[in-house]
């Protein structure tokens, strides 16, 4: 079960990496980065999984708990990823307003002309 989750996370990471390296549209690049980060969150959730483990709340009779630390790390990574995605999209909007395109190579070409 855990291995299947790791394989799925690796697949999602590869999809994100492929998108980041091959796409020219800045919005798609932002989405690809977000997909890559999501794969790491999937892997964190898989690491935290304990077969038969209960929620980490101490109660009578419970001896096996799920470690909450990876969950905390996953939540933090989600929040940071959302913040970075928001900034990246804001910068994309700023560049689109000036250059009239979201094609990253076209924008690089225009900045080179301007120097």
């Amino acid at each position: 079960m855990q291995n299947a989750a790791f394989v799925a996370a690796a697949l999602v990471f590869a999809i994100g990496l492929h998108g980041m390296l091959t796409r020219r549209n800045m919005i798609r690049i932002c989405i690809s980065i977000s997909v890559m980060e999501s794969s790491l969150v999937m892997a964190l959730v898989a690491v935290a999984y304990v077969p038969g483990g209960s929620a980490p709340i101490v109660s009578d009779g419970q001896t096996m708990f799920v470690d909450p630390l990876p969950h905390a790390l996953a939540l933090t990574a989600i929040v940071i990823g959302a913040g970075i995605l928001a900034i990246a999209l804001a910068l994309t909007v700023a560049m689109y307003r000036h250059y009239g395109t979201t094609d990253v190579l076209a924008v690089f070409g225009k900045t080179r002309e301007g120097q």
Binding site: I33, M36, L40, L73, I84, A88, L91, M95, T111, G114
Partner: protein, 490 residues
């Protein structure tokens, strides 16, 4: 006194939000607030550093929850150097900015982001927990993007976007490494990871090390991950570039040192990584210097020089692969301290030259030295030091890195790098010393004594460091011993 490790993080972060608030509701006292935050942060950093220089290291456990349940902050002799550098960087950049020409238009956002950046960098230095390390690195990334793109020029947005994308990859790799460490050892506390890392298979250990080297390599501009640096520094402007190159970059190198010797125990368990790092360092030195030689823009040239100097520090780290190689770590620390002062002095002197010439193209700086002799004298002293001319501190730091090498090739690379850097600095000197400017230079309205004093003091300290290199080297050996575990003893 016992709360100092947490105060070095809390003071600037709270101060950053305070500056934003003051900027909104009481802008007339904004400068006083900015200065108060910088000076108070500087005091806390220096106090923590001096407290840490006495054995044993300062430990702080928020809420008294010991690891692995809680987190810990740790300040030792090795981290003390970086806390002092951050104090110098925060106070120096704020004083320079207050005194420089553009201070009238100085936005509260810039000051707030600078305070938050220094808070995040201090967090990277004091944390003893990989989870916290990830959070502070990401906070520093967000602040850096804000500082790069704050000028609201089209090229600033492009540079900010490029940096953000490459930093997102760096962050993903760091998180990946933390994930692997947690899955292999069951903890993210650095001290507990160090106890359990020997149980991790060598292949997995190698993957973790590789991910961390690339992650932090991106951040400090290791070739081939340096492409963001010239564009970002150019867009950010000289003052921010001085902060990022002089002080930000050093903290990422600190993190690499700390992780290799601390939780990952690389010298003991995976010494094969050090020859690889040595090759990467030599490539970084040569590529950085050669690209700087071909560059016609002053800020980009200085940014590429920073890439090369990241290579020198990495070369010191690589030479320290032998267990207990305190001399090599001490040499790297010497170069870290010297480069922080040299590069910030160069970039901040360049700020005056660029505002006078209204251009950062080297060819437009004809005759600048005749208009601002003191600032350009400071630039020249810092340039001589960074090129490695004796008897400056820059010469001795390079010399010690070269002495720490176990073979001839890295020494030749250091020598070749020195020759190339002398070439591009000499080219700039020839231009600024020219007799007749081809076009009228701009009349600088306000180049205050304060901003000039900052660059002169930084350049002067680097020059004087050569005279005091003996005691400094002894101090750096003690600091290195705190990292390697020898305590600085031979």
């Amino acid at each position: 006194m016992s709360h100092l490790p947490v105060l070095v993080v809390v003071v600037p972060i709270a101060g950053g939000f305070l500056i934003s608030l003051v900027d909104l509701i009481l802008p007339s006292v904004k400068k006083a607030a900015v200065l108060a935050v910088a000076l108070s942060h500087g005091c806390v950093l220096v106090l923590a550093a001096f407290a840490a220089l006495s054995y044993p290291p300062l430990m702080y456990v928020p809420g008294s929850w010991l690891p692995p349940v809680g987190i810990a902050l740790r300040v030792d002799s090795f981290s003390a150097l970086f806390l002092i550098l951050l104090a110098v960087g925060h106070c120096g950049s704020v004083l320079f900015r207050l005194g420089s020409e553009g201070s009238r238009q100085w936005e509260g956002k810039t000051a707030a982001l600078t305070a938050l950046l220094f808070g995040a960098l201090a967090g990277v230095v004091v944390t003893a927990d990989l989870f916290n390390l990830f959070v502070f690195v990401e906070l520093a990334t967000v602040c850096t993007v804000g500082l790069i793109s704050r000028k609201q020029r089209p090229d600033s947005s492009v540079a900010g976007f490029v940096y953000l994308m490459i930093a997102a990859v760096s962050g993903a790799l760091l998180l990946f490494a933390v994930l692997l460490i947690y899955s292999a050892t069951g903890t993210v506390s650095m001290s507990l990871v160090a106890e359990r890392i020997h149980e991790v298979p060598a292949a997995l250990h190698g993957v973790i090390l590789g991910a961390l080297v690339v992650s932090f390599g991106i951040k400090f501009g290791m070739v081939p991950f340096h492409v963001w640096q010239p564009r970002a520094y150019h867009a950010a402007g000289t003052t921010t570039a001085g902060v990022l190159s002089g002080f930000g970059m050093k903290v990422y190198l600190y993190a690499l040192f700390r992780l290799l010797w601390g939780p990952l125990q690389a010298p003991l368990l995976l010494p094969e990584i050090f020859p690889v790092l040595q090759v990467l360092a030599m490539v970084t030195i040569l590529v950085g210097h050669l690209m700087a030689l071909l560059e016609n823009n002053l800020i980009r040239m200085l940014a590429l020089s920073s890439v090369a100097h990241g290579g020198y520090i990495l070369l010191g780290l690589a030479a320290a692969g032998d267990v207990g190689a305190d001399a090599a770590v001490a040499a790297a620390l010497f170069h870290i301290a010297a480069h922080a002062l040299m590069k910030s002095s160069l970039l901040w002197s360049a700020h005056h030259a660029i505002s006078l010439a209204r251009s950062s193209r080297i060819v437009d700086h004809h005759g600048v030295a005749r208009e601002m002799p003191v600032v350009m004298a400071a630039f020249m002293v810092a340039a001589l030091a960074i090129a490695g001319i004796p008897p400056t501190g820059g010469f001795f730091s390079k010399w010690l890195v070269a002495l720490a090498q176990g073979s001839l090739l890295p020494v030749l690379v250091i020598a070749l790098g020195t020759v190339i850097s002398m070439g591009y600095y000499a080219r700039y000197f020839v231009v600024v010393m020219a007799k007749r400017p081809p076009e009228p230079l701009r009349q600088v309205r306000s180049r205050s004594i304060l901003s000039t004093a900052v660059v002169v003091v930084f350049a002067g300290v680097v020059a004087a460091a050569g005279v005091a290199q003996g005691p400094l080297q002894s101090l750096f050996v003690v600091m290195a011993g705190s990292l390697t575990g020898s305590g600085g003893l031979p």
